[in-house]
Point group: C2
């Protein structure tokens, strides 16, 4: 799985990339591994380049966010079409979705009549062979296409729209793909031990527990080491996962206490 | 400029990538454009691949964050060495920096004596030809090397350390490169106009003001459109920048009001 975030506001540091973070967490919890995340600006060539590169790596899923709206700088579909060498065509199903949105806006008294202006038709202009995904909370549909073995999915950048389309159309597909694997995690906190002393201990525990991934995150000041030790594992049953995690937590705790460190537990498992 | 963030915690959605956001903002304000941001996990091959790809695009700067610490999964320098086909060697200047840190920890009574264990020596083991950058607030030095016309800079993932090394060693270099160009920005807010109606107006104003970049960010609910319109421009003088921004803001405000929309100003210029 690769996530591609599109938007110049991300590159200039105006906007924090919470979309990629939300999706990484959600995708991981559904049992799929994110291998790479990329951010590029609203430039057709730059978008085409990253999409082309990602497709060549043949992941099972590529999900883009951003750049599906009506404005001139919403260039995601143009970029995707260029990357795949496909034509952009008005899609009748997508146009129906967009038209129904504006009909609803007329009913709600927000606009006087449905005018399918070029910026509005643009939202229904998809790369050839693509399927629109209904947008339950906004106007621009999501877009899904198959490129050989890869599902290439484009979602809007507005978080509420991105999340709604993801939950309605993407999550069920990911669940089906992943089977019943899910991520389990827990953290403990170590005080009074330096990260360089902790390093070989983590190494040993990971060696003894090959299905558990352990990472240390220093949180304290330089003068007062406080280290989060984060354990993750994926498993088909929560019992297997909990057993692996507990075994690793006990082992590392004992090793740390032998070195004079102190452990605080703060468990959570999702 | 490209930013590469290294850390599996980012890919699983455990950690929000505030480092890339901070750096994008800081780099932009110093007059350098970020073209791409990438995130990969703590895997030597994955790191080597993204670094190799980035170097091939020949940006003036590549900055990585994360993966410089003492633990087994801090693999950034290994990945960079692999990407550049350089050997990893203990660097005497870097080792001196690391040793002085542990000497200070002994003085502060935190450890009994300086032991340069393998995890600690690892932080001073750099790709051949690299220079260590002093870390004012932590142990692992930053690393800088020149690859043809590109500065490749590796900073730690702990935000306080990353920011301190950036300000001390990287910002002066960026300032020198960029001359005195700086970013100026402002936002206005439009109510009562739909994004698809706004789109051609922005198009027109950008056409008339080629040095100004304008982007709309829908913020409201579907039923109550509220759109941030964000203007950015880079210029050598703040007077030039302010003039361009004001001209664009006035023009778009007039166009929006002609369409029945309402404008709220909330200026900031940095």
């Amino acid at each position: 799985m690769e996530i591609i975030s599109i938007g110049t506001e991300l590159l200039i540091g105006k906007t924090l990339n919470t979309n990629a973070h939300w999706m990484a967490r959600r995708v991981t919890s559904l049992g799929t591994m994110v291998k790479r995340m990329t951010v590029v600006g609203d430039d057709t060539n730059d978008i085409a380049k990253v999409v082309h590169e990602a497709v060549k790596r043949k992941p099972r899923f590529i999900i883009t966010t951003g750049g599906l709206g009506p404005t001139f700088d919403d260039k995601t579909l143009e970029g995707i079409a260029k990357a795949l060498n496909r034509k952009l065509e008005v899609d009748e199903k997508a146009l129906k979705m967009v038209r129904e949105k504006y009909e609803a806006y007329v009913k709600a008294g927000r606009i006087e009549r449905v005018e399918l202006t070029p910026p509005r038709v643009k939202m229904a202009t998809l790369p050839k062979g693509a399927e629109p995904l209904p947008n339950p909370v906004g106007t621009a549909p999501g877009v899904m296409m198959k490129v050989e073995g890869t599902f290439l999915i484009a979602l809007p950048g507005v978080p509420s729209e991105m999340e709604a389309i993801f939950e309605e159309s993407v999550a069920p597909l990911l669940k089906k793909e992943a089977g019943k694997v899910a991520l389990f995690e827990t953290s403990i906190y170590a005080d009074g031990i330096m990260e360089s002393t902790l390093a070989p201990l983590i190494d040993q525990v990971m060696h003894d527990n090959p299905y558990v991934y352990i990472k240390s995150h220093p949180k304290g000041e330089e003068k007062k080491p406080h280290i989060e030790i984060h354990f993750t594992t994926t498993a088909k049953s929560s019992k297997t996962a909990r057993n692996s995690l507990e075994k690793s937590v006990i082992q590392i705790s004992e090793l740390i206490e032998e070195k004079g460190g102190k452990i605080k537990f703060q468990r959570k498992a999702t």
